[in-house]
Symmetry: C2
Subunit: 242 residues, 2 copies
């Protein structure tokens, strides 16, 4: 056989090129030729690895979902290293925070997720399978964590884990789009998440704020900060509650 090129690596390279251009030029507006140019290969090569555009879109969506899941797990793993063995609160906090467009990588994910989701609502070809399946699984994970926390006495027993899990994930998704739309800043969104986490885990610290650590911000967004309650609100919450 010939030149022995890693098939999977090439597919990933091309799919990444699609995701990169789609994140700034739009998913529907990104053509095969642009993908090829971005990936530094010829149009024929894109056709070779992905016969049709739909196939490319679906594969890229799977890479997107896989990357998101991997980042979430890495975040949980990181928390586990630096402290106790991954409390339910930390796991849930990691999941919710991962959905916020706080840096370029997560912002790209949120934009692309929104684009794929919007497309899937009308395009029957994009059955949105990986995305929705992922979301459903995440709901179950959060609900399970809540149940574990209830069993450990960290969370009020009268709360409905399933309803709270759905609520939390809908909230983080809505906050993500709210940040993208410029209706709130990342800090405001994080404050809302921390507030609800505190509601569910009254004994926990309001959050591990890393505002003095290595940069978290540095976004393209001007951070509107409509009302100046950003971190102030979080502080107030923390003060009142702790």
């Amino acid at each position: 056989m010939p030149k022995r090129v890693d098939h999977e690596e090439r597919r990933r390279q091309i799919a990444d090129a699609l995701l990169r251009t789609a994140a700034e030029r739009g998913l529907h507006a990104t053509g095969m030729r642009e993908v090829a140019a971005e990936a530094g290969v010829s149009l024929r090569l894109v056709q070779y690895y992905f016969g049709t555009k739909e196939e490319l879109l679906l594969a890229a969506m799977q890479y997107l979902a896989a990357g998101f899941a991997e980042r979430g797990l890495a975040r949980i793993r990181r928390m586990k290293e630096t402290g106790s063995p991954a409390s339910p609160r930390d796991v849930i906090a990691a999941i919710l925070t991962e959905a916020l467009p706080a840096d370029d990588e997560r912002r790209t994910f949120t934009v692309l997720y929104t684009a794929y989701f919007a497309l899937s609502l009308t395009d029957p070809a994009l059955a949105i399978a990986p995305l929705v399946k992922n979301s459903g699984a995440v709901i179950d994970v959060v609900a399970a964590q809540l149940r574990a926390a209830q069993a450990a006495g960290q969370t009020p027993a009268h709360l409905d884990p399933d309803l709270e899990a759905l609520s939390l994930l809908a909230l983080s998704a809505g906050l993500g789009t709210s940040v993208l739309g410029g209706q709130s800043s990342v800090e405001q969104a994080q404050a809302v998440i921390d507030y609800h986490l505190y509601r569910l885990f009254p004994a926990s610290r309001p959050a591990l704020r890393r505002q003095s650590g290595a940069g978290v911000a540095k976004m393209g967004q001007p951070a509107p900060s409509r009302n100046a309650f950003t971190t102030a609100s979080l502080r107030v919450r923390g003060t009142v509650t702790l």
Copy 2:
């Protein structure tokens, strides 16, 4: 001058045709010719009333936003008629509920809103002005209602109105997309909203459930109901809390 046709009515007719086809075939996939066919007019007419496609898209978006606002106000007005003079809770409940895709009209709105939002993230032409401006104004309205409720003693004084307003709207938006994606049923989403409303207005009834009244469901969706906690959860909440 010639045949005296109501200019504005024609524009609305054509824009409505765009919204109708875009809701089921996609926003980017809807062409001028399809719009013309759906509206029952010729392509030239669409060009005559809207010079370019971008202009048509923007105008349709404004009609969409106006219709949404009008329905929300109508819902508030309806509540005002049947009861007390529109308590803050009722106003907020009306706003949040209006964002749920519970019937075909609201589902269409949610789908189109998502499509416009996704497009606006990458297409600089669609400055998404009306949509975002609307959302920002709604946040202010909700915050103001919360402040009024606090002044009236209906809502705990220690809550941050701005943070809660952002939280509620992000939640309802997230729940709307959650219903669209099939991750939750309309009933589950409504239960989550009612739960949070109860959290903010402890003295209020869990909700005015209209499960026996004129139909609310009758959707195209099969209503997945992943876990069977739908109305059950609401009942539990209501029982525990009241």
